[in-house]
């Protein structure tokens, strides 16, 4: 217990001594620390920026389907028409799904012939006919209202979810859900109830509208058959290619006369994109070089002042400093210095990265949502500063600890 408190006061005292020493060599220390601050700021910014960019990129890529996504469709090889849907294909798909026990699946039907209108405004809507699993499979988040449920097929009016562009184009911004909009195709108009909205999708022009297959079939199927139909399965990445192959073969067996195609299709299909990683590594590499240069000048200050320090260490040893304590104090000087410098660097980085205008300028887009500063980058920035301080501190600390008292204080 006593030795523990001794260790505690020893630690506090060593920090105080280190701080005093830094205070005395203020200017020189300050100059060498500018490098450390700049380096840590750029290192942290590079890592944070890359982390945020990766997160944004992943989010946008995953709206196309989270890995591993298998796309399945069937078509008539003797016809020019694209993959269409019919009950027979749907049945074959459901049967194969049951056999393979895939948890997440959705139909993907599209219709391009619909015009949406409300309050005298209209737009060419992209109608997506999907099952409820579509949302988790594409990381689709409903920002207002709710997503489609299987029960919505039984509603008296057709239920739909639309994106923010859709709402904006029709001048419905700020209005409370549920909303009613009209969908027109081939002279036929149906009123649709909007039960949820999502944020604007990062690609595609027009507004999007999602509804369940049964809803579409019931209200629009006759007048406007879907332009194309496919199915998607969300499966573990491991073994997804083999699964696609077996799934295709099994479903093909159910559909003589048609050709079934099943293949993986997601952004990780060809492996992860390494370009961002490369850029991060280059910036981080440059930052580490600056950091080493900064710490080198810190080391220089420490070594230049060592001559004077040797006498000082001798004096301190005469009134009770142990070699361990001398080593620790001298080392802490450098650690305290770089920790402070690095802390300032991290703060600068946070200020830069959290600046909305700056971020929009760099990313060249309007972000609807500020990504959060990655804590990991800040922790790493601090960790690197402290590690560099410890590394630079070792040499002067070793010199100081080896001082012979009698030689040091001899007049």
């Amino acid at each position: 217990m006593k030795s523990l408190t001794r260790l505690g006061t020893g630690f506090v005292a060593a920090l105080l001594e280190a701080w005093q020493e830094l205070r005395i060599h203020k200017l020189r220390v300050l100059l060498s620390l500018v490098g450390v601050t700049i380096a840590v700021a750029s290192l942290t910014t590079a890592l944070a920026g890359a982390g945020m960019a990766r997160q944004m990129m992943t989010e946008s890529l995953e709206s196309e389907g989270r890995p591993a996504m298998i796309v399945v469709y069937a078509y008539d090889p003797n016809s020019d028409a694209g993959p269409a849907g019919n009950d027979q294909i749907d049945e074959a798909f459901q049967k194969t799904i049951d056999r393979f026990k895939v948890e997440y699946t959705t139909m993907m039907g599209r219709s391009y012939d619909q015009k949406a209108s409300a309050q005298g405004l209209s737009l060419d809507a992209e109608i997506m006919v999907v099952d409820p699993d579509y949302a988790p499979m594409h990381r689709l988040v409903v920002t207002d209202g709710r997503w489609l449920e299987a029960e919505d097929a039984q509603n008296l009016a057709p239920a739909a979810v639309v994106d923010h562009t859709f709402i904006k184009e029709l001048g419905l911004e700020g209005q409370r859900l549920p909303l009613t909009v009209d969908l027109m195709s081939n002279g036929n108009t149906v009123s649709v109830t909007v039960i949820g909205t999502t944020k604007a999708s990062s690609y595609g022009m027009g507004g999007k509208l999602w509804m369940l297959p049964a809803t579409y079939e019931h209200w629009f199927g006759m007048q406007a058959p879907l332009n194309e139909v496919s199915y998607k399965l969300w499966v573990p990445i491991e073994g997804s290619e083999e699964l696609a192959m077996h799934f295709g073969q099994q479903m093909q067996a159910e559909l003589p006369g048609l050709t079934v195609d099943a293949h993986r299709e997601d952004y990780l299909m060809w492996g992860a994109d390494e370009s961002l990683k490369m850029l991060t590594m280059v910036v981080a590499g440059i930052a580490i070089i600056i950091l080493l240069l900064g710490s080198l000048s810190l080391l220089n200050v420490a070594m230049v002042t060592m001559k004077q320090r040797i006498r000082e260490v001798g004096i301190r040893r005469s009134f009770g400093a142990t070699t361990g304590r001398v080593f620790f104090s001298v080392m802490m000087e450098s650690v305290v210095a770089t920790a402070v410098a690095g802390g300032i660097g991290v703060l600068i980085s946070v200020a830069l990265v959290s600046n909305e205008n700056l971020l929009n300028m760099v990313m060249a887009t309007e972000l609807d949502q500020m990504p959060a500063f990655p804590i990991g980058a800040a922790v790493l920035g601090m960790g690197v500063s402290i590690a560099v301080g410890a590394l630079t501190g070792v040499l002067p600390a070793l010199v100081a600890a080896r001082v012979k008292i009698v030689d040091a204080i001899r007049v």
């Binding site: 001794r6 020893g10 040893r317 005469s318 009134f319 009770g320 361990g324 001899r410």
Partner: protein
Amino acid sequence: MSGEPLLKLENVTRSVLLPDDSELHILNGIDLTVSEGDHIAIVGRSGTGKSTLLNILGLLDRPTNGSLLWRGKDATRLSAKQAAHARGRDLGFVFQQFNLLPGRTALENVMAPLMYAGGRDFWNRRKLATESLERVGLGKRLDSMPQTLSGGEQQRVAIARALVRRPRVVLADEPTGALDVTTGRAVMDLLDSATVDSGAALITITHDSNVAALAREQLQLDGGRLHPLSEVAAR
């Protein structure tokens, strides 16, 4: 007060190896006993080994041969760490060149030894250091830097620093060597009275017989051995 001496040297020798591989015998057999409250002056010409002896007494250096007992224990067997703790707790040093830490105020200099103390002494270091400086008459110069103080004042700061942990032994190596006669006299009076007050033993090294005369016991270092001063004079 226990009867056990603080320091007991028997036939202590110290020799160093010179760069040309020959041995220089500095101390050739020192016998000395220091008990609580003793005031001893050691005089000798320059280069006779006074500082070498003081360093051994202060556990800063080790004898080449002979026995050195520190409070009854074989001091040559103390680990470096134990010696450091013993110095911090029980020994105070005053040097000819003051040896104040540059760039630190008088107060910070006097607080410095308390940085190696544990517990209460550490946490109360500001108060203890202030009191110690007040006792040497520098209560108004707490925040002065060493270079702004006169030689006598600097030595008083050094004395305050040596006494701040209430050592049992104070070792002063030519404490007046860098001071004029009047100032030196005042500094010696201060050292003398402060150690009388605290009950610490005081060993002063000097080449000034007037300074030596203040001590109750006077020894001369000559030929690597200690002799009573009178005996030398009679020779």
